[in-house]
């Protein structure tokens, strides 16, 4: 049976509200207000996990988000199970199920524990050194590492919870609602500033709120009671918003912060339905006041990681706040006065203290005097040298420190205990400050890094700024707020303060032992099992930069980012290497401060909301007619329209034949459309396309190729002259936005003298293309008033007309090589015009075709697709499209690059046609092309860019880029595939109707 270690009612606990929960399969009870950690400790459970590398038993060590050991897996079901939850942060609720994460098969019997016995074989850099060789063994190692390492289990089915993102703008953001944060929030809000106060814990007040002793008084009340009144007052302030259970994850430049608000994790499961679980707050604050407090330092001595060893401040919090005694035979070990505050709290609660071990030889403060009055033995000038107890501490060894603190002297004293509280002083929580780009300075007096240079409009106050004692906080906070907020005074300017703490401290980063270092296990990073010995080994092996030592030893690389031990690691490096702490610098703290769930990051952008998708005005028709869709940029384009049981190949063969034999219809609405107007529009086109535009008559269309300034093909499309100073340009579907951006760039920055205006009109029009020998008959029926005769309406020309009352632009242009018309109408008429065409084409077997057939038909004609047959390394010359490059024009974008020494090389990759010796063999796009299969290494000449079986030619056709391909016409090449080599012949890129007879058929 477990013991009940509940003492007098804690501040946060509602003893009338009992909650049952499960831990590692057994049922326990706690009270409303308990964290999982406090509830376990009340049941005398310390052992909660195993360490990462040595699988040493580990217990709860802290009472907050800095916890390295008590990491649990929550829930059992496949959609909600969650790894890496800190037991010190999760509040218990009815139905909570948690289990130890880093142990296999169970926390009490753990196979990985054998690593502890093998630890002389597992030094720093072990993973790097061992598992790298032989490489083929990695898979075997990995199985064991993954199985036995504490990475937890991820959910295997979709997350059913709701997550949200929210933007918040405020004048002042205060992070942390300890005493200094509460003062700051009150002052800011009372001075008319819109203020947001954020606190990671469920309640306000930090560690002061449970400070209930006569040693700390403000205006003659104990500090806890004083603060409680302040909290009640700020809750009434109108322009102050308070968010609890909310932790700032990231502090970016320009005071942009991300915070996670936890809304339901503390509720019983049955009260969570339909509620938002986490909210990601995107906060933009004019001013940020950081009041994130400080984290107590552990002490580095042999076997300092046993269950039952906690931070002294955590023991105090568990007693005062949760009403839980962490042990019945407590010993405190300290180098400063903080442990005596804990001692006084324990005495008040009637919890037994066996002894206090203090590094300092001379100690005198009111606090210590009071502890001594209670007949508690204090070992002054002593240190702990070792501990014992496998799953729970049961004894410690102590010895006297030499004068210089480098050695232990005298004889060993053994003391028995079941809980050891350690206090190595305090480390300001500067993580967010440094994330924001702030620069720290080192304060020699008490060996801490504190904020020095602020990168944005912000201020650090309280313990995170190095003010650890009550009087420092109460005096300095109002002063710095007066400066920072530019106000005359605050209500806190004349507080009466009495505090008994003495600031003296004896800092020894690595405590001496009677054993040699090689025989000790003094942990610096508990979660990653990095010891003082590992750090010294890394230095011996030549690592000097702290960032390198960190990676080599994995110190500070766990989910807790080494919040407890980073300073000791630095201290040990500095002492060993003989460098000054201030000059070493610190490692970088990266967001998130505490881990975020994926759900929080993603918010509502899941499923169909994952990314925007664009639908054409004819989309619904394609859906009704069972089209398969493909994603082109953000567009959903009809890919092919399978009939009955057709697969893609069969559907495409049918569609392609129909388009050439009678009539096909394509939804081309996704093509980019840019309206170009202005007196210099023709000159503008001259400069952006490779060919000449000045002489294009009104009512005519022309194909254009656009290059980058480096001479590589960027985009292509047909542009039509609608009027003297008016053009409509079409771009590729995927390139539309980029082309628009590029044209604007040149207009605004290089040629501001041109009178040209650009408007993106892609979404304004529905575009449908009717092609095939019967296309003219079909469109004549849809638009009976228009003269479709070849004389009046030849290829590459344009007509403005009407379908009934609907304005309509018709271009006679072709991307298939067939006689075809492109009809543009206002977008919302698109579907009805499409349906009209389908009706008119009924007798001609008009066949809707998708992008796949479009690609096949254009490949038969050797028309390129920018981005498929080109890849930003192809010039028009490489594409054998010399005809479109004007020799006469003085300049256009990319012209000069076309005769750089590199672009005129004869052996560049050039676009050619490829015909397989076996006409039924269809090549794979992307396949490599070689000439000599026997040469070693085989020389790669290029690759296949487009490949299809042409139903119209009844053979396989392909386009590819081949080094020097232009001069290889008729030559045999080889496509080596996994199972066979395919023989091909280099051919012309135009496979069908080279004479363009079909355009006028």
């Amino acid at each position: 049976m477990t013991k009940n270690l509940r003492v007098k009612t804690g501040k946060a606990i509602d003893e009338t509200y009992r909650i049952s929960f499960k831990f590692n399969g057994s049922t326990y009870y706690g009270f409303k207000g308990d964290t999982l950690a406090s509830a376990l400790l009340a049941n005398d459970i310390h052992l909660v996990g195993r360490s990462f590398k040595y699988h040493r038993p580990r217990g709860i060590m802290t009472a907050g988000s800095e916890e390295p050991n008590a990491i649990v897996q929550l829930h059992n079901d496949s959609s909600r199970t969650e790894p890496n939850v800190r037991a010190t942060e999760i509040e218990i609720y009815e139905g909570l199920e948690a289990s130890s994460q880093n142990c296999w098969p169970s926390v009490k019997f753990d196979i990985g524990g054998i690593n502890n016995l093998l630890s002389p074989l597992l030094p720093a850099g072990f993973y790097y050194k061992t598992f790298m060789w032989p490489a083929s063994f990695w898979e075997k190692y990995e199985y064991f590492i993954r199985r036995s390492a504490g990475l937890g289990k991820s959910p295997t089915t979709p997350d059913p919870d709701i997550y949200e993102h929210k933007y918040i703008h405020c004048d002042v953001l205060v992070i942390g609602a300890g005493i200094s944060g509460i003062m700051a929030a009150k002052i800011a809000a009372k001075n008319g500033l819109k203020t947001l106060l954020i606190e990671e814990k469920p309640n306000l007040g930090g560690s002061t709120i449970y400070q209930n002793s006569d040693h700390f008084k403000i205006n003659n009340q104990n500090s806890g009671s004083w603060l409680e009144k302040e909290i009640n007052e700020i809750k009434k302030l109108k322009n102050l918003e308070i968010k609890t259970r909310t932790s700032v994850a990231a502090y970016h430049g320009y005071n942009f912060l991300l915070a996670r608000e936890n809304l339901t994790d503390h509720l019983p499961i049955n009260q969570r339905k339909d509620k938002t679980r986490h909210k990601l707050l995107k906060i933009r604050a004019k001013k940020v006041i950081t009041a994130t407090g400080s984290i107590e330092r552990p002490m580095i001595f042999d076997n300092n990681d046993r269950p039952g060893i906690l931070l002294s401040s955590a023991i105090k919090r568990f007693a005062d706040y949760f009403g839980v005694a962490c042990g019945e035979k407590n010993i405190l070990f300290t180098n400063n006065d903080s442990a005596y505050e804990t001692a006084i709290s324990l005495i008040q609660k009637g919890i037994n203290i066996e002894a206090i071990i203090d590094n300092r030889e001379e100690v005198n403060s009111k606090l210590i005097y009071e502890v001594e009055k209670n007949n508690i033995k204090i070992f002054k000038g002593y240190t702990v040298t070792d501990t014992s107890g496998y799953k729970r501490i049961n004894k410690i060894s102590i010895m006297q420190l030499s004068k210089d603190g480098q050695k232990v002297v005298g004889s060993k004293i053994i003391l028995s205990c079941d809980c050891l509280g350690v206090s190595g002083g305090w480390t300001p929580a500067v993580h967010l400050f440094t994330q924001s780009g702030g620069k720290l300075k080192f304060r020699e007096d008490d060996q801490v890094f504190i904020p020095n240079i602020y990168p944005s409009d912000q201020l650090s106050i309280g313990a995170c700024n190095g003010d650890f004692t009550l009087d420092e906080i109460l005096v300095n906070t109002p002063k710095s707020l007066i400066d920072y907020l530019n106000i005359k005074n605050t209500e806190y300017d004349n507080l009466e303060i009495s505090s008994s703490t003495n600031k003296s401290k004896r800092n020894i980063w690595l405590l001496p032992s009677d054993k040699i270092l090689g025989k000790t296990k003094s942990f610096v990073d508990y979660q990653n099992d990095a010891t003082a010995k590992d750090i010294k080994l890394a230095l011996r092996e030549g690592f000097r930069s702290i960032e390198h030592v960190k990676r080599y030893t994995t110190t500070g690389m766990g989910t807790d980012q080494g919040k407890l031990g980073n300073m000791h690691a630095l201290g040990i490096i500095s002492e060993t290497a003989g460098a000054k702490m201030g000059e070493l610098g610190t490692t970088t703290f990266r967001p998130p401060y505490t881990p975020l769930t994926f759900g929080t990051i993603v918010g509502r952008n899941v499923g169909e909301y994952f990314d925007i998708f664009r639908k054409t005005p004819i989309h619904d028709w394609h859906v009704e007619h069972k089209a398969e869709f493909e994603n082109v940029g953000q567009w959903k384009r009809a890919w092919y329209y399978p009939k009955e049981n057709e697969n893609m190949h069969k559907a495409v063969q049918r569609e392609s034949k129909a388009a050439r034999e009678s009539a096909g219809i394509l939804d081309a609405s996704t093509l980019g459309k840019i309206d170009i107007q202005g007196t210099d529009a023709s000159e503008f086109l001259n400069r952006v396309y490779t060919n000449a535009w000045s002489k294009l008559a009104v009512g005519k269309c022309r194909y254009g190729l656009m290059l980058n300034e480096d001479g590589m093909v960027y985009d292509d499309g047909v542009t039509t002259r609608l009027g003297e100073n008016h053009y409509i340009m079409t771009t590729t579907t995927g390139g539309a936005a980029n082309v628009m951006g590029k044209l604007e760039d040149y207009l605004q920055t290089e040629w501001p003298e041109l009178d040209v205006y650009l408007t993106s009109v892609t979404d304004h029009f529905a575009t449908l293309s009717v092609c095939g020998p019967n296309s003219k008959k079909i469109v004549s029926e849809v638009i009976p008033d228009l003269d479709f005769s070849d004389e009046s309406f030849p290829h590459m020309s344009f007509k403005n007309t009407k379908i009934g009352k609907i304005n309509c632009r018709v271009m006679r242009i072709s991307f298939t090589g067939e006689h075809s018309y492109e009809i543009n109408v206002q977008a919302n008429y698109g579907k009805s015009v499409w349906e009209k065409c389908m009706e008119a084409g009924k007798n001609f077997n008009i066949t809707p075709y998708g992008t796949e057939t479009m690609h096949l038909l254009r490949a038969e004609k050797g028309f390129i697709i920018v981005g498929q047959d080109t890849d930003a390394t192809m010039t028009p010359i490489d594409l054998q499209m010399d005809w479109i490059v004007s020799k006469k024009k003085y300049d256009f974008i990319g012209k000069r690059s076309l005769y750089r020494s590199d672009t005129i090389r004869e052996d560049r990759k050039q676009l050619v046609g490829l015909l397989t010796d076996n006409p039924n063999e269809v090549l794979e796009e992307g396949a490599q092309i070689v000439a000599d299969i026997n040469k070693s290494p085989i020389e790669m000449l290029g690759h296949v860019t487009s490949s299809y079986y042409s139903p119209n030619l009844k053979k396989s056709i392909a386009l590819g880029v081949v080094r020097g391909g232009k001069n290889m016409m008729g030559q045999k090449l080889i496509i080596p595939m996994e199972k066979k080599n395919i023989n091909v012949t280099v051919a012309d890129t135009v496979f069908l109707d080279k004479e363009n007879k079909r355009l006028n058929a």
Binding site: D745, Q748, D891, R896
Partner: protein, 91 residues
């Protein structure tokens, strides 16, 4: 994420903008008269300064205007923004 003071619209979130590389590189008026090396200098060579850098930005999801910015790349402080064609601020 920066707050950028668009010279046409005022202060907006960085997510509305797109960076466009180094500023004040003028496209040669007569490219055909340049040697390969001179053209390559214009085409490829860009400074990558730690410190004060002049760069082009575009308010893509706003007024679509291009403008120039002086930014300290070591701490992302924006020292000035000014319209295309305007002279860069001295100092």
């Amino acid at each position: 994420m920066f707050i950028i003071n668009c010279p046409y619209c005022g202060e907006r979130e960085q997510s509305e903008f797109k960076a466009g590389g180094e500023a004040h590189i003028v496209r040669p008026k007569q490219p055909t008269e340049l040697s390969d090396d001179e053209w390559a200098e214009y085409l490829f060579m860009r400074k990558n300064i730690k410190g004060i850098q002049f760069e082009r930005w575009n308010h893509t999801h706003g007024c679509r205007k291009w403008f120039n910015m002086v930014r300290d790349t070591s701490n992302d402080e924006i020292k000035a923004v000014y319209k295309m064609g305007e002279k860069p601020p001295v100092e």
